[in-house]
Amino acid sequence: MSYQSIVQWSLHVWLLPAALLVVLPAQAQSTTDVPTVAAASDLQFALEDIAARFRADTKLDVKLVFGSSGNFYRQIEQGAPFQLFMSADEGFIFKLADLGRVEDRGALYAVGRIVLFAPHQSSFKPDAQFKGLKSALTNDRIKRFAIANPEHAPYGRAAEQTLRKLGLWSSLQPKLVLGENVSQAAQFATSGSADGGIFAFSLALSPAVSKLGSYVLIPAETHDPLRQRMALVKGANISARTFYNYLQQSGGREIFKRYGFVLPSEI
Protein backbone atom coordinates (compact mmCIF):
# COMPACT_ATOMS: atom_id res chain seq x y z
CA MET A 1 0.00 0.00 0.00
CA SER A 2 1.29 3.45 -0.86
CA TYR A 3 0.37 6.49 1.18
CA GLN A 4 -2.13 7.33 -1.51
CA SER A 5 -3.71 3.91 -1.51
CA ILE A 6 -4.45 4.22 2.20
CA VAL A 7 -6.63 7.18 1.45
CA GLN A 8 -8.24 5.41 -1.46
CA TRP A 9 -8.72 2.30 0.57
CA SER A 10 -10.44 4.10 3.39
CA LEU A 11 -12.76 5.69 0.85
CA HIS A 12 -13.56 2.32 -0.71
CA VAL A 13 -14.50 0.91 2.66
CA TRP A 14 -17.44 3.28 2.65
CA LEU A 15 -18.68 2.56 -0.85
CA LEU A 16 -20.18 -0.88 -0.30
CA PRO A 17 -22.23 0.04 2.79
CA ALA A 18 -23.38 3.17 1.02
CA ALA A 19 -24.59 1.11 -1.91
CA LEU A 20 -26.37 -1.28 0.43
CA LEU A 21 -28.12 1.62 2.13
CA VAL A 22 -29.78 2.51 -1.13
CA VAL A 23 -31.12 -1.02 -1.53
CA LEU A 24 -32.15 -2.00 1.99
CA PRO A 25 -35.05 0.35 2.87
CA ALA A 26 -37.05 -1.36 0.16
CA GLN A 27 -37.66 -4.18 2.65
CA ALA A 28 -41.00 -3.45 4.23
CA GLN A 29 -42.09 -4.74 7.61
CA SER A 30 -44.68 -7.47 7.68
CA THR A 31 -47.59 -7.52 10.10
CA THR A 32 -46.38 -10.68 11.82
CA ASP A 33 -42.88 -9.38 12.56
CA VAL A 34 -41.65 -8.88 16.08
CA PRO A 35 -42.32 -5.18 16.65
CA THR A 36 -39.50 -2.83 17.61
CA VAL A 37 -40.11 -0.50 20.54
CA ALA A 38 -38.18 2.77 20.71
CA ALA A 39 -37.75 3.57 24.40
CA ALA A 40 -36.14 6.44 26.32
CA SER A 41 -32.92 5.38 28.01
CA ASP A 42 -34.26 5.88 31.55
CA LEU A 43 -36.43 2.80 30.87
CA GLN A 44 -33.34 0.63 30.30
CA PHE A 45 -33.85 -1.72 33.25
CA ALA A 46 -37.58 -1.41 33.94
CA LEU A 47 -38.65 -2.14 30.39
CA GLU A 48 -36.39 -5.20 30.07
CA ASP A 49 -38.19 -6.65 33.10
CA ILE A 50 -41.62 -5.78 31.74
CA ALA A 51 -40.77 -7.28 28.35
CA ALA A 52 -39.58 -10.50 29.97
CA ARG A 53 -42.84 -10.81 31.86
CA PHE A 54 -44.81 -9.88 28.73
CA ARG A 55 -43.12 -12.65 26.75
CA ALA A 56 -43.90 -15.19 29.45
CA ASP A 57 -47.52 -14.07 29.83
CA THR A 58 -48.51 -13.65 26.20
CA LYS A 59 -46.01 -15.74 24.20
CA LEU A 60 -45.59 -12.65 22.04
CA ASP A 61 -42.27 -10.93 21.52
CA VAL A 62 -41.01 -7.34 21.31
CA LYS A 63 -37.61 -5.91 20.44
CA LEU A 64 -36.42 -3.04 22.62
CA VAL A 65 -34.21 -0.21 21.43
CA PHE A 66 -33.01 2.37 23.96
CA GLY A 67 -31.82 5.84 23.13
CA SER A 68 -32.54 9.51 23.39
CA SER A 69 -36.15 10.53 22.88
CA GLY A 70 -35.10 13.38 20.59
CA ASN A 71 -33.26 10.97 18.29
CA PHE A 72 -36.24 8.64 18.15
CA TYR A 73 -38.52 11.57 17.46
CA ARG A 74 -36.45 12.54 14.44
CA GLN A 75 -36.20 8.95 13.21
CA ILE A 76 -39.92 8.31 13.49
CA GLU A 77 -40.62 11.62 11.79
CA GLN A 78 -38.51 10.26 8.90
CA GLY A 79 -40.45 6.99 8.84
CA ALA A 80 -38.23 4.70 10.95
CA PRO A 81 -39.82 1.25 11.36
CA PHE A 82 -40.59 1.51 15.09
CA GLN A 83 -44.05 0.45 16.14
CA LEU A 84 -44.22 1.90 19.64
CA PHE A 85 -42.49 5.05 20.89
CA MET A 86 -42.00 5.45 24.63
CA SER A 87 -40.72 8.98 25.10
CA ALA A 88 -39.25 10.50 28.25
CA ASP A 89 -40.73 13.82 27.16
CA GLU A 90 -44.38 13.94 26.22
CA GLY A 91 -43.77 16.91 23.94
CA PHE A 92 -42.26 14.62 21.30
CA ILE A 93 -45.38 12.44 21.26
CA PHE A 94 -47.62 15.49 20.81
CA LYS A 95 -45.48 16.75 17.94
CA LEU A 96 -45.57 13.37 16.19
CA ALA A 97 -49.35 13.23 16.72
CA ASP A 98 -49.69 16.65 15.09
CA LEU A 99 -47.61 15.36 12.17
CA GLY A 100 -49.84 12.29 11.91
CA ARG A 101 -46.94 9.90 12.47
CA VAL A 102 -48.40 8.25 15.56
CA GLU A 103 -51.97 7.01 15.94
CA ASP A 104 -53.09 9.48 18.61
CA ARG A 105 -51.79 11.55 21.48
CA GLY A 106 -51.06 8.27 23.26
CA ALA A 107 -51.01 7.53 26.96
CA LEU A 108 -49.10 8.87 29.93
CA TYR A 109 -47.38 5.75 31.29
CA ALA A 110 -45.13 7.07 34.06
CA VAL A 111 -43.74 10.16 35.71
CA GLY A 112 -39.99 10.06 36.29
CA ARG A 113 -38.09 11.04 39.42
CA ILE A 114 -34.45 12.00 39.79
CA VAL A 115 -31.81 11.19 42.40
CA LEU A 116 -28.65 12.78 43.70
CA PHE A 117 -25.98 10.10 43.51
CA ALA A 118 -22.45 9.86 44.92
CA PRO A 119 -20.10 6.94 44.27
CA HIS A 120 -18.41 5.22 47.21
CA GLN A 121 -15.17 7.19 47.13
CA SER A 122 -16.91 10.52 46.57
CA SER A 123 -16.12 13.73 48.43
CA PHE A 124 -19.70 14.11 49.69
CA LYS A 125 -22.62 12.08 51.01
CA PRO A 126 -25.92 12.68 49.27
CA ASP A 127 -28.82 14.15 51.29
CA ALA A 128 -32.17 15.55 50.20
CA GLN A 129 -31.23 19.12 51.20
CA PHE A 130 -27.99 18.90 49.18
CA LYS A 131 -26.05 20.00 52.31
CA GLY A 132 -23.20 17.57 51.69
CA LEU A 133 -22.85 18.69 48.09
CA LYS A 134 -22.99 22.37 49.10
CA SER A 135 -20.25 22.07 51.69
CA ALA A 136 -18.10 19.96 49.34
CA LEU A 137 -18.56 22.69 46.74
CA THR A 138 -17.55 25.51 49.10
CA ASN A 139 -14.49 23.49 50.15
CA ASP A 140 -13.64 22.97 46.48
CA ARG A 141 -13.80 19.20 46.84
CA ILE A 142 -16.01 18.70 43.76
CA LYS A 143 -14.00 18.09 40.60
CA ARG A 144 -16.65 16.75 38.26
CA PHE A 145 -20.42 16.39 38.51
CA ALA A 146 -22.46 14.50 35.92
CA ILE A 147 -25.91 15.28 34.54
CA ALA A 148 -27.55 14.58 31.19
CA ASN A 149 -27.20 17.38 28.64
CA PRO A 150 -29.94 19.87 29.64
CA GLU A 151 -30.07 21.25 26.13
CA HIS A 152 -31.86 18.18 24.85
CA ALA A 153 -32.27 15.47 27.52
CA PRO A 154 -35.43 15.79 29.69
CA TYR A 155 -33.62 14.38 32.73
CA GLY A 156 -30.81 16.87 32.20
CA ARG A 157 -33.36 19.67 32.13
CA ALA A 158 -34.87 18.46 35.42
CA ALA A 159 -31.37 18.30 36.96
CA GLU A 160 -30.66 21.87 35.86
CA GLN A 161 -33.99 23.10 37.27
CA THR A 162 -33.24 21.46 40.61
CA LEU A 163 -29.72 22.88 40.80
CA ARG A 164 -31.01 26.35 39.88
CA LYS A 165 -33.74 26.14 42.48
CA LEU A 166 -31.22 25.20 45.16
CA GLY A 167 -28.88 28.01 44.06
CA LEU A 168 -26.11 25.58 43.09
CA TRP A 169 -26.19 26.00 39.33
CA SER A 170 -23.65 28.78 38.89
CA SER A 171 -21.07 27.25 41.23
CA LEU A 172 -21.54 23.73 39.83
CA GLN A 173 -21.73 24.60 36.15
CA PRO A 174 -17.95 24.74 35.53
CA LYS A 175 -17.65 21.25 36.99
CA LEU A 176 -20.36 19.64 34.89
CA VAL A 177 -19.79 16.70 32.59
CA LEU A 178 -22.72 16.14 30.31
CA GLY A 179 -24.01 12.74 29.34
CA GLU A 180 -25.52 12.42 25.90
CA ASN A 181 -28.54 10.84 27.56
CA VAL A 182 -29.53 10.02 31.15
CA SER A 183 -27.99 6.56 30.99
CA GLN A 184 -24.61 7.97 30.08
CA ALA A 185 -24.97 10.59 32.83
CA ALA A 186 -25.52 7.70 35.26
CA GLN A 187 -22.49 5.90 33.85
CA PHE A 188 -20.36 9.05 34.30
CA ALA A 189 -21.69 9.68 37.81
CA THR A 190 -21.01 6.14 39.00
CA SER A 191 -17.68 5.60 37.22
CA GLY A 192 -15.56 7.04 40.01
CA SER A 193 -14.26 9.68 37.61
CA ALA A 194 -16.90 12.16 38.80
CA ASP A 195 -17.81 13.05 42.38
CA GLY A 196 -21.46 12.40 41.73
CA GLY A 197 -24.39 13.35 39.58
CA ILE A 198 -28.10 13.62 39.08
CA PHE A 199 -29.95 11.02 37.01
CA ALA A 200 -33.11 8.93 36.86
CA PHE A 201 -34.37 7.13 39.97
CA SER A 202 -35.26 4.17 37.73
CA LEU A 203 -31.58 3.69 36.90
CA ALA A 204 -30.38 4.14 40.51
CA LEU A 205 -32.76 1.40 41.65
CA SER A 206 -31.08 -1.16 39.43
CA PRO A 207 -28.62 -3.28 41.45
CA ALA A 208 -25.93 -2.75 38.78
CA VAL A 209 -26.00 0.98 39.60
CA SER A 210 -26.98 1.06 43.28
CA LYS A 211 -24.03 -1.09 44.36
CA LEU A 212 -21.65 1.62 43.09
CA GLY A 213 -22.62 4.29 45.60
CA SER A 214 -25.39 5.93 47.58
CA TYR A 215 -28.23 8.22 46.54
CA VAL A 216 -31.25 10.17 47.74
CA LEU A 217 -34.48 10.86 45.94
CA ILE A 218 -34.76 14.53 44.98
CA PRO A 219 -38.06 16.18 46.01
CA ALA A 220 -40.40 16.32 43.02
CA GLU A 221 -41.22 20.02 43.64
CA THR A 222 -37.72 21.10 42.59
CA HIS A 223 -38.35 20.46 38.90
CA ASP A 224 -41.08 20.22 36.29
CA PRO A 225 -42.67 16.76 36.29
CA LEU A 226 -41.00 14.30 33.89
CA ARG A 227 -44.17 13.22 32.17
CA GLN A 228 -43.41 10.20 30.03
CA ARG A 229 -45.84 9.41 27.27
CA MET A 230 -46.03 6.67 24.69
CA ALA A 231 -47.93 6.21 21.44
CA LEU A 232 -48.32 3.56 18.76
CA VAL A 233 -46.71 4.49 15.48
CA LYS A 234 -49.10 4.30 12.53
CA GLY A 235 -49.19 0.80 11.10
CA ALA A 236 -48.32 -0.90 14.43
CA ASN A 237 -49.10 -4.62 14.44
CA ILE A 238 -51.04 -6.72 16.93
CA SER A 239 -48.00 -7.58 19.09
CA ALA A 240 -47.17 -3.90 19.46
CA ARG A 241 -50.78 -3.12 20.39
CA THR A 242 -50.88 -5.91 22.94
CA PHE A 243 -47.63 -4.65 24.48
CA TYR A 244 -49.01 -1.09 24.56
CA ASN A 245 -52.03 -2.29 26.51
CA TYR A 246 -49.94 -4.57 28.70
CA LEU A 247 -47.84 -1.58 29.80
CA GLN A 248 -50.96 0.11 31.14
CA GLN A 249 -52.25 -2.95 32.98
CA SER A 250 -51.29 -4.24 36.42
CA GLY A 251 -48.33 -6.36 35.28
CA GLY A 252 -46.54 -3.49 33.59
CA ARG A 253 -47.57 -0.86 36.11
CA GLU A 254 -46.26 -2.90 39.01
CA ILE A 255 -42.79 -3.03 37.47
CA PHE A 256 -42.79 0.69 36.62
CA LYS A 257 -43.63 1.33 40.26
CA ARG A 258 -40.88 -0.99 41.44
CA TYR A 259 -38.41 1.04 39.38
CA GLY A 260 -39.44 4.25 41.11
CA PHE A 261 -41.77 5.71 38.53
CA VAL A 262 -44.89 7.52 39.67
CA LEU A 263 -47.91 6.02 37.95
CA PRO A 264 -50.44 8.22 36.14
CA SER A 265 -53.15 7.07 38.58
CA GLU A 266 -51.12 8.42 41.51
CA ILE A 267 -50.88 11.99 40.31
Partner: protein, 223 residues
Protein backbone atom coordinates in the same frame (compact mmCIF):
# COMPACT_ATOMS: atom_id res chain seq x y z
CA UNK B 1 -21.44 28.08 14.92
CA UNK B 2 -19.58 26.99 18.03
CA UNK B 3 -16.17 28.65 17.66
CA UNK B 4 -14.81 27.28 20.93
CA UNK B 5 -15.59 23.74 19.76
CA UNK B 6 -13.90 24.37 16.41
CA UNK B 7 -10.80 25.84 18.00
CA UNK B 8 -10.68 22.99 20.51
CA UNK B 9 -10.81 20.47 17.66
CA UNK B 10 -8.08 22.31 15.78
CA UNK B 11 -5.97 22.38 18.94
CA UNK B 12 -6.51 18.66 19.50
CA UNK B 13 -5.66 17.91 15.88
CA UNK B 14 -2.52 20.06 15.99
CA UNK B 15 -1.24 18.47 19.20
CA UNK B 16 -1.96 14.97 17.91
CA UNK B 17 -0.04 15.80 14.73
CA UNK B 18 2.91 17.31 16.59
CA UNK B 19 3.24 14.37 18.97
CA UNK B 20 2.80 11.73 16.27
CA UNK B 21 5.35 13.40 13.97
CA UNK B 22 8.48 12.03 15.73
CA UNK B 23 6.72 8.84 16.82
CA UNK B 24 5.63 8.16 13.25
CA UNK B 25 9.10 8.80 11.85
CA UNK B 26 10.70 6.52 14.39
CA UNK B 27 8.20 3.67 14.05
CA UNK B 28 7.87 4.17 10.30
CA UNK B 29 11.63 3.75 9.82
CA UNK B 30 11.84 0.74 12.11
CA UNK B 31 8.96 -1.01 10.36
CA UNK B 32 10.23 -0.07 6.90
CA UNK B 33 13.80 -1.31 7.28
CA UNK B 34 14.05 -3.77 10.10
CA UNK B 35 12.98 -7.36 10.31
CA UNK B 36 12.40 -8.91 13.67
CA UNK B 37 10.42 -11.71 15.21
CA UNK B 38 6.77 -10.88 15.65
CA UNK B 39 6.91 -7.96 13.21
CA UNK B 40 3.53 -8.85 11.61
CA UNK B 41 1.94 -8.80 15.05
CA UNK B 42 3.48 -5.41 15.86
CA UNK B 43 2.31 -4.01 12.52
CA UNK B 44 -1.13 -5.46 13.13
CA UNK B 45 -1.30 -3.80 16.55
CA UNK B 46 -0.49 -0.40 15.11
CA UNK B 47 -3.06 -0.93 12.33
CA UNK B 48 -5.83 -1.99 14.74
CA UNK B 49 -7.51 1.43 15.00
CA UNK B 50 -8.31 1.16 11.27
CA UNK B 51 -10.73 -1.66 11.97
CA UNK B 52 -11.70 -1.33 15.64
CA UNK B 53 -14.82 0.66 16.45
CA UNK B 54 -13.91 3.79 18.43
CA UNK B 55 -16.19 2.54 21.18
CA UNK B 56 -13.72 -0.27 21.93
CA UNK B 57 -10.94 2.22 22.56
CA UNK B 58 -13.41 4.42 24.45
CA UNK B 59 -14.36 1.53 26.67
CA UNK B 60 -10.76 0.57 27.46
CA UNK B 61 -9.87 4.19 28.15
CA UNK B 62 -12.80 4.50 30.56
CA UNK B 63 -11.70 1.32 32.30
CA UNK B 64 -8.00 2.23 32.33
CA UNK B 65 -8.00 5.97 32.92
CA UNK B 66 -10.93 6.41 35.33
CA UNK B 67 -10.39 7.96 38.77
CA UNK B 68 -10.74 4.59 40.47
CA UNK B 69 -8.02 2.79 38.47
CA UNK B 70 -4.29 2.62 39.34
CA UNK B 71 -3.32 4.51 36.18
CA UNK B 72 -5.98 7.16 36.75
CA UNK B 73 -4.85 7.57 40.37
CA UNK B 74 -1.20 7.73 39.39
CA UNK B 75 -1.93 10.52 36.93
CA UNK B 76 -4.05 12.29 39.53
CA UNK B 77 -1.29 12.11 42.14
CA UNK B 78 1.22 13.33 39.56
CA UNK B 79 -0.74 16.27 38.18
CA UNK B 80 -3.70 16.81 40.50
CA UNK B 81 -5.95 16.32 37.49
CA UNK B 82 -7.81 13.41 36.04
CA UNK B 83 -7.57 11.96 32.55
CA UNK B 84 -11.19 11.10 31.89
CA UNK B 85 -13.25 14.21 31.02
CA UNK B 86 -10.09 16.19 30.21
CA UNK B 87 -8.27 17.48 27.15
CA UNK B 88 -5.22 15.38 28.06
CA UNK B 89 -7.38 12.24 28.09
CA UNK B 90 -8.75 13.09 24.66
CA UNK B 91 -5.22 13.70 23.41
CA UNK B 92 -4.11 10.24 24.56
CA UNK B 93 -7.14 8.68 22.86
CA UNK B 94 -6.48 10.68 19.75
CA UNK B 95 -2.81 9.68 19.57
CA UNK B 96 -3.65 6.00 19.94
CA UNK B 97 -6.41 6.25 17.42
CA UNK B 98 -4.26 7.97 14.81
CA UNK B 99 -1.26 5.66 15.02
CA UNK B 100 -1.96 3.89 11.69
CA UNK B 101 -2.69 7.17 9.95
CA UNK B 102 0.69 8.50 11.01
CA UNK B 103 2.82 5.36 10.77
CA UNK B 104 1.65 3.73 7.57
CA UNK B 105 2.18 6.59 5.09
CA UNK B 106 5.55 7.37 6.68
CA UNK B 107 6.53 3.70 6.54
CA UNK B 108 5.70 3.61 2.80
CA UNK B 109 7.72 6.76 2.36
CA UNK B 110 10.81 5.26 3.98
CA UNK B 111 10.34 1.94 2.16
CA UNK B 112 10.58 3.83 -1.13
CA UNK B 113 14.15 4.91 -0.36
CA UNK B 114 16.55 2.47 -2.09
CA UNK B 115 18.96 0.69 0.24
CA UNK B 116 21.88 1.80 -1.98
CA UNK B 117 21.17 5.41 -1.14
CA UNK B 118 21.39 4.74 2.56
CA UNK B 119 24.50 2.60 2.08
CA UNK B 120 26.10 5.40 0.10
CA UNK B 121 25.28 7.86 2.89
CA UNK B 122 26.88 5.54 5.42
CA UNK B 123 29.94 5.05 3.20
CA UNK B 124 30.36 8.81 2.95
CA UNK B 125 30.59 8.88 6.72
CA UNK B 126 27.34 10.70 7.39
CA UNK B 127 26.13 10.31 10.96
CA UNK B 128 22.71 8.76 11.63
CA UNK B 129 21.16 12.13 12.38
CA UNK B 130 22.66 13.76 9.29
CA UNK B 131 21.48 10.85 7.10
CA UNK B 132 18.00 11.27 8.52
CA UNK B 133 18.04 15.01 8.06
CA UNK B 134 19.82 15.33 4.68
CA UNK B 135 18.90 12.08 2.88
CA UNK B 136 15.93 10.27 4.34
CA UNK B 137 13.52 13.07 5.22
CA UNK B 138 13.91 14.85 1.85
CA UNK B 139 13.21 11.55 0.07
CA UNK B 140 10.36 10.42 2.29
CA UNK B 141 8.63 13.80 2.63
CA UNK B 142 5.52 13.00 0.57
CA UNK B 143 4.74 10.10 2.90
CA UNK B 144 5.46 12.19 5.97
CA UNK B 145 3.35 15.08 4.79
CA UNK B 146 0.50 12.74 3.86
CA UNK B 147 0.71 11.19 7.32
CA UNK B 148 0.52 14.56 9.03
CA UNK B 149 -2.42 15.78 6.97
CA UNK B 150 -4.32 12.52 7.42
CA UNK B 151 -3.70 12.58 11.17
CA UNK B 152 -4.90 16.14 11.40
CA UNK B 153 -8.06 15.54 9.35
CA UNK B 154 -8.85 12.27 11.07
CA UNK B 155 -8.63 13.90 14.51
CA UNK B 156 -11.12 16.58 13.47
CA UNK B 157 -13.54 13.81 12.55
CA UNK B 158 -13.12 11.82 15.75
CA UNK B 159 -16.45 11.19 17.43
CA UNK B 160 -17.00 7.85 19.13
CA UNK B 161 -14.12 7.99 21.59
CA UNK B 162 -14.81 11.61 22.48
CA UNK B 163 -18.48 10.85 23.07
CA UNK B 164 -17.55 8.07 25.46
CA UNK B 165 -14.77 9.66 27.51
CA UNK B 166 -15.29 13.39 26.93
CA UNK B 167 -18.38 14.53 28.80
CA UNK B 168 -19.02 17.45 26.44
CA UNK B 169 -17.28 20.12 28.55
CA UNK B 170 -17.09 23.41 26.61
CA UNK B 171 -13.51 24.40 25.81
CA UNK B 172 -12.15 21.17 27.26
CA UNK B 173 -13.74 18.13 25.63
CA UNK B 174 -16.59 19.46 23.50
CA UNK B 175 -15.08 19.03 20.05
CA UNK B 176 -16.70 20.18 16.82
CA UNK B 177 -18.00 16.67 16.07
CA UNK B 178 -19.66 16.53 19.50
CA UNK B 179 -20.99 20.07 19.11
CA UNK B 180 -22.63 19.07 15.82
CA UNK B 181 -24.24 16.07 17.49
CA UNK B 182 -25.45 18.25 20.39
CA UNK B 183 -26.91 20.84 18.03
CA UNK B 184 -28.75 18.14 16.06
CA UNK B 185 -30.10 16.73 19.33
CA UNK B 186 -31.28 20.20 20.29
CA UNK B 187 -33.03 20.54 16.90
CA UNK B 188 -30.76 23.46 16.00
CA UNK B 189 -30.29 22.53 12.34
CA UNK B 190 -28.86 25.91 11.35
CA UNK B 191 -25.86 25.60 13.66
CA UNK B 192 -25.43 21.89 12.90
CA UNK B 193 -25.52 22.67 9.18
CA UNK B 194 -22.97 25.47 9.42
CA UNK B 195 -20.55 23.37 11.46
CA UNK B 196 -21.00 20.31 9.24
CA UNK B 197 -20.24 22.37 6.15
CA UNK B 198 -17.13 23.80 7.81
CA UNK B 199 -15.87 20.35 8.70
CA UNK B 200 -16.70 19.04 5.23
CA UNK B 201 -14.68 21.78 3.56
CA UNK B 202 -11.67 21.39 5.87
CA UNK B 203 -11.66 17.60 5.41
CA UNK B 204 -12.06 17.81 1.65
CA UNK B 205 -9.17 20.28 1.45
CA UNK B 206 -6.98 18.04 3.57
CA UNK B 207 -7.70 14.88 1.58
CA UNK B 208 -7.29 16.72 -1.75
CA UNK B 209 -3.95 17.96 -0.49
CA UNK B 210 -2.71 14.40 0.15
CA UNK B 211 -3.82 13.32 -3.33
CA UNK B 212 -2.07 16.33 -4.79
CA UNK B 213 1.17 15.48 -3.00
CA UNK B 214 1.18 11.88 -4.13
CA UNK B 215 0.32 12.69 -7.75
CA UNK B 216 3.10 15.31 -7.85
CA UNK B 217 5.49 12.80 -6.37
CA UNK B 218 4.51 10.11 -8.84
CA UNK B 219 4.92 12.30 -11.90
CA UNK B 220 8.29 13.47 -10.64
CA UNK B 221 9.48 9.89 -10.15
CA UNK B 222 8.51 9.10 -13.73
CA UNK B 223 10.42 12.06 -15.18
Amino acid sequence: MDWSALSLSLKLAAWTMVILFPIGIWLGRVLAWQDFRGKPLVEAMFALPLVLPPTVLGYYLLVALGGATPLGRFYHDLTGQQLVFSFEGLLIASILFNLPFAIQPMQRGFEAIPIEVRDAAACCGLSGWRTLWRIELPLAWPGILTALVLTFAHTLGEFGVVLMVGGSIPGETKTIAIAIYDRVQAFDTAAAGAMSATLLIISLMAISFTFLISSRFKSRRHD
